[in-house]
């Protein structure tokens, strides 16, 4: 080891005479000339006492990581070089320079890493060496690595360390992501199976009370009820929810003996809704009142459909309009006309870009997930209820994490303690 050190020093002098070194040193120093204060200039530099060179963990291969402890002279006037060479060679001065940077840069804390993948303190220097011009870093080949400390005419090398890059089969930085995915997935299936066996409480959705009220008023006025199921087909959960809620509306309409009109944009949805309506009339004990043409197909064209429904609203003046399911720009055309006829309007949609218009033109609006919840509440379908329940627990966990995290972050900021960050790492996205 000692012999090597002597060799190093001699090489430094050789290096100094090389014009290329002179140039690179000058380039490095000009930028930081003003900063090269005298405080550090007096202190003698040496090589880092401890350096770690190893295959970069959690990566696809082709790189090595070099880490070493910070030194008291780390400043803009001192520079570090990373040198890589053939595994068999022992003389660092013949190595290829893979990186060169001021000694007060490239710390582990600058990179996003989680505590469970760190072996050394965050204040250590940290650099990842990849293939560059002059040297290709290949998996399975060993390389000799050295770090040089340089100031003015001095250039000191650390002993050479040999390491071999290789690809990895798991990225431990994403461990938190995997744990969240697995536990949330498990949770959903648990709550679904739980919902199959038990009754799960779901809160009453206030909008559903408004449904009864609206149909009641239509009955009083002796006017029909209009129900729309949205723009999507039955593959979309919002349309399914709309069809489920139609069942409730139809049953209520049958009980009150009020006329129901359901204009459609999609033939298959129409057929399914016809069955649902029929079933509702049966359940209400009024099968004779069921009319086959309560559900009818208009057209699949967006604006022509809207115009046709507007026409129905103006002619038949329904006292209650329901807009459930997914809507696009036609929502405004529909609800505006409905509002102008003085009907009670109830909407439920997961189309967030249309929600503002529904809220301002309708008397009651089921917002986003409320539509699914209303349908789960009515249908008592365990998969739907279980999923809602699982998502609720997920939200509760996130709320708790945010609350605990905020307390920890505030505590950390006020006291300057580092341990809260350790907890917070789990909530960060590190890769």
């Amino acid at each position: 080891m000692k012999g090597q050190g002597g060799e190093v020093r001699r090489r430094v002098r050789q290096g100094w005479t090389s014009p290329a070194w002179l140039l690179s040193l000058m380039m490095g120093c000009t930028g930081s000339l003003l900063l090269s204060c005298l405080v550090f200039a007096q202190e003698p530099i040496s090589t880092p006492p401890e350096i770690h060179v190893f295959d970069t963990p959690n990566d696809g291969g082709g790189s090595l990581t070099v880490q070493w402890a910070p030194a008291s002279w780390d400043g803009p006037d001192v520079r570090y070089q990373i040198l890589v060479g053939d595994a068999s060679s022992t003389d660092p001065s013949t190595f290829t320079v893979m990186a060169e940077f001021p000694a007060n840069s490239k710390y582990l804390k600058d990179t996003e890493t989680a505590w469970w993948t760190r072996d050394v303190d965050k204040s250590w220097h940290h650099i990842v060496v990849r293939s560059a011009k002059g040297l290709e870093i290949k998996d399975g080949t060993s390389y000799a690595v050295s770090v040089a400390t340089m100031r003015d005419d001095q250039r000191l090398f650390t002993p050479v360390i040999v390491a071999t890059p290789s690809p990895d089969w798991f990225n431990w930085n994403q461990l938190n992501n995997l744990i969240i995915a697995a536990s949330f997935g498990g949770l959903i299936f648990y709550t679904i199976s739980h919902a199959k066996r038990n009754n799960i409480f779901l809160r009453r959705i206030p909008g559903l009370d408004a449904v009864d009220e609206a149909i009641g008023r239509a009955t009083e006025l002796g006017k029909p009820v209009l129900y729309l199921t949205g723009a999507h087909d039955l593959h979309d959960p919002s349309t399914v929810a709309a069809a489920v809620i139609l069942g409730k509306v139809a049953k209520r309409a049958a009980l009150y003996e009020t006329e129901l009109m359901v204009p459609h944009r999609e033939p298959i949805t129409m057929a399914v809704c016809q069955e649902i309506t029929k079933q509702a009339y049966l359940e209400a004990g009024k099968p004779d009142l069921f009319k086959e043409d309560a559900n009818f197909f208009i057209t699949s064209d967006q604006f022509s459909y809207a115009a046709a429904v507007d026409g129905i609203m103006l002619r038949k003046k329904p006292a209650a309009n329901f807009f459930m399911g997914h809507y696009f720009a036609e929502s405004l055309l529909l609800t505006e006309t409905g509002a102008s006829t003085g009907a009670i309007q109830i909407a439920g949609t997961d189309a967030d870009h249309q929600l503002p218009f529904f809220v301002t033109t309708c008397d009651y609006t089921l917002i986003g997930e409320e539509l699914y919840a209303a349908s789960a509440y009515l249908s008592k379908e365990p998969v739907q209820i279980g999923t809602l329940r699982g998502q609720d627990i997920g939200k509760a966990v996130i709320l708790t994490a945010i609350a605990v995290g905020t307390v920890l972050a505030t505590f950390g900021a006020v006291t300057g303690a580092e341990w809260p960050q350790i907890m917070l790492d789990f909530l960060s996205d590190v890769k």
């Binding site: 102008s340 967030d352 870009h353 890769k431």
Partner: protein
């Protein structure tokens, strides 16, 4: 007297909507014909994109994905023009593409037009990769290997032979990427399937409808800037000091907004007076 207001309000609320259509038509048309040129303030969202492009060294790779169709042309077309002018002026290597099939022709036209205006040469200064189907799959595939996602450019030339793509293997080698999105796939998809893994710097431009939904990504730094709608485009045109369609449209935009605000206020005044009258009647009866 009260009865009079009620009928008046009711009558006013029931006027033919075609009269309103006429008012809005005029509010748009007149400022377009006789512009005023009110000053436009620059927001930090738009400045984020501008500053990042300013900070890029020459010959950095700039990727612009033109993900919209003619339906959103008035909002995003001026954004695309302004961004390209800026990128060409900074001598960046400009790569353009689209994930929206019905936007292909427009994207081609935008790129060709601005490049011609700035005297740039196809292949060495810029490239248009065209459209490829699959949305998010294209983004991931580009992140893995750009030449696999786009083996040839719009004109059918092999992408591997384009000098502008020298040294670019995948999205990791992109210096800055801006997505101009009118929906899905758009800015969110470029983050989730692109930046999340391939770590390039991402900026966004979008229609007014999309803009409020992208603020959480802006706040968390997942995108470093956001150009929202025609107003955003106008700000960008001011920033690069090359006024175009967006700035020209701002007067009309002002007029229509004020018109809508006035309409909303009138609507609510009538509505509240009607409601008060109804309540008074209810109490009396």
């Amino acid at each position: 007297m009260k009865g009079d207001t009620v009928t008046f309000s009711e009558r006013m609320l029931k006027i033919d909507r075609r009269i309103i259509f006429l008012v809005i038509g005029l509010c748009t048309l007149l400022p377009l014909l006789y512009p005023v040129g009110l000053p436009i303030k620059i927001s930090s969202e738009v400045r984020g994109v501008y500053d990042h492009i300013e900070s890029l060294p020459e010959q950095s790779v700039f990727l612009l994905s033109i993900d919209f169709d003619p339906a959103s042309k008035p909002e995003l077309y001026p954004q695309a023009i302004a961004l390209l002018r800026h990128a060409f002026r900074k001598n960046l290597r400009v790569i353009t593409m689209t994930l929206w099939v019905s936007g292909t022709g427009m994207a081609d036209q935008i790129v060709t037009q601005v490049a011609k205006e700035m005297g740039k040469e196809y292949g060495t200064d810029y490239a248009f990769l065209g459209w490829s189907p699959g949305g998010q799959a294209v983004i991931i595939n580009m992140g893995q290997d750009l030449y696999s996602a786009f083996p040839s450019d719009y004109g059918g030339r092999p992408t591997k032979e384009l000098p502008v793509l020298n040294g670019v293997r995948n999205l990791k080698d992109v210096g800055y990427m801006v997505d101009l999105g009118a929906g899905k796939p758009g800015v969110e998809e470029w983050y989730v399937f692109g930046k999340d893994k391939y770590k390039f710097e991402l900026g966004g431009g979008c229609t007014g409808v999309m803009a409020p939904g992208l603020y959480p990504l802006l706040r968390s730094g997942q995108i470093n800037g956001l150009i929202g709608g025609l107003r955003g485009a106008a700000e960008y045109e001011i920033l690069i000091d090359h006024k175009g369609q967006a700035v020209a449209g701002m007067d009309a935009q002002s007029a229509t907004h004020i018109a809508i605000i006035v309409l909303v206020i009138i609507c609510n005044v009538f509505y509240l007076s009607l409601r008060r009258a109804a309540r008074a009647q209810g109490q009396a009866g």
